[in-house]
Amino acid sequence: MRRHSAVRMLLHDRSTTAGAVLGVVAIVFLVGQQLAVMFGLLTLMSALVDNSGADIWILSQNSNNTSTAGDLPSRYVDRLAGLADIEWAQPVIYSAAQLRLRSGKFQSVQIVGVTRPALSGGPWRMAQGGNDVLLEYDGVTVDKLDLVDLGNPQIGQVVEVNGKRIRIAGYTEGSRAFGPAVVFVNSTKAREITGIPADRCTNILVKLKPGVDVRRAQAEIGELLPKTTVLTASELAGNIRVYNLTNTGIGSSFGFSTLIGILVGVVIITLTMYTNVLNRQRDFAVLRALGARQRDVFAIILSQALTIGCIGLLIGFFLLAGFLFGVKGSRLPANLPLWLPPAHALFTFLLCFLGSALALRRALKIEPASAFR
């Protein structure tokens, strides 16, 4: 009867209930959308590492992510070949470059030079053409989503990067990274473009044999190559995310937006639920006089918060699903990890209860004697 009465009261006060539901929807959608975009960006930040197929990355000494890495001697690859646990080791070249548009303007790009014939660390999803186009001397791939930024180059079109001619040989689909458009190219052409000599590279990717303990292999490589930084792929991915979050303002920007979403939602829930209790003071007093204990009033208010939370969550998740569907395949990255919706729901219920605290405080203060005034 308590829950029944609580729900009936909500249905009776439709306008205030709608206001409270709106508050929950604001929390679910705004916060969910912000988090989805943030996780999308986080995924993008470490996409090159996550999709490289390597277990271990070797960087220059004193650097902990690809953005701050210097270069390495390529001969380290030969030294690694002596370790029994390693399946393969490949040098790669990461470097910024300038692509000349048809208009004559320049566009920053990120050159990723991979070693033939394995092409490890290369594009992981192709839209048009295979990644074997990188085996060709001047063949490069760019992502479909970056085509507009790059002046819509067509397959077969020759463009200029750092004054060197390259040929668009394939399009990738979602093989992108955080920051400038990625241009995958073979390492020979990459050295030509970036000026990195043949005996140098920026990173070495290491794939371990199946069943090998990554930590142990990491320590072995560290001993073998003492003047380098040896990181597991997950360590490097984490370092890149932290670096970008703290050095680009993305973290604080998303944190602030999320906080605003939470605040707006909680304020709306608080005000509407409080108004609801104010409007229903006589009813609560009558219920108290009829035998409702404070804990029963508590249960009624919490039932209302729970009901509002459930309705708001349903609508909010529906809108969020629409948003995710809408941005799928677009330049706006959005990614909702599987654990996030239940965590978000739990968090939203907590905020509903927090929002109902003021209403609860007011309702618990209502004296049963006031039913007689």
Binding site: M1, R2, H4, S5, R8, M9, L11, H12, D13, R282, D283, V286, L287, R288, A289, L290, G291, A292, R293, Q294, R295, D296, A299, P368, A369, A371, F372, R373
Partner: protein
Amino acid sequence: MDTLMESPKSEVQSPKSDVQSLGAPGTPVLRLEEVTRDFSDGRVVRRVLKETTLDILPGEMTVLAGPSGSGKTTLLTIMGLVLKPSAGRVFIGGEDVTGFSEDRLASLRQQRFGFVFQQAALIPALDVLDNVLVGTAIQGGRVLPRTREKALELLTGLGLKDYVSARPQQLSTGQQQRAGIARALVSDPILLLCDEPTSALDVESGRVVLDTLKRLSRDPRRGVVLVTHDPRVFPYADRLLKMEDGAIVYDTRTANQTSGPEDAKDTKQT
């Protein structure tokens, strides 16, 4: 309407009470002993109920009359265990409940007391049947089928059979008050406390409500207390108490000790 009086007690689902001896024939259903009540605004303490000793007996209708501000409602709320007295003791069925916790008092109110409020005070969000039942399961749990049957029986007896699913705002004030009476009776209370039940009613509706309350007071296990300043109520009283300035100044039962016969006559004729 007769159904109300004909309904045997054994058919009424009645929850167990903290006070087991409630409603025993002959003993007062309620006794107030030297009860006072003070209110304070933080600076000044004002005594709104002076030392009062009072028994409410089953089977009679006690009418509490007096001008506004005389302390009638304060006395009624103390009787109803809704307000705690500043001093004195309250006995229900012979047991001292003065020191009971808020929760135990709430349970007693739920199980053994019925309240009829001024202007019915039905909850607009609930339909008439739910309004009648709301008190019975407000402490959790479900409404028992027997209780639901009892509620329907009461509503039928009070002429509200066709309004069971209606919202309170669809009812006339007289019908609302009768629904309020059904709510007060559904738990088979030993004490029915009515606060100005006819103040918002026209003559005919008021008469119907008073007739109903009078019949209910004939139950030898139940006491009825009615607060009013409506003179139409006085002829229905088995016992009339008159309050002034926080004290009972006239009681028909002890008229010769508390007040002169002229006062009594005046009150009866008011």
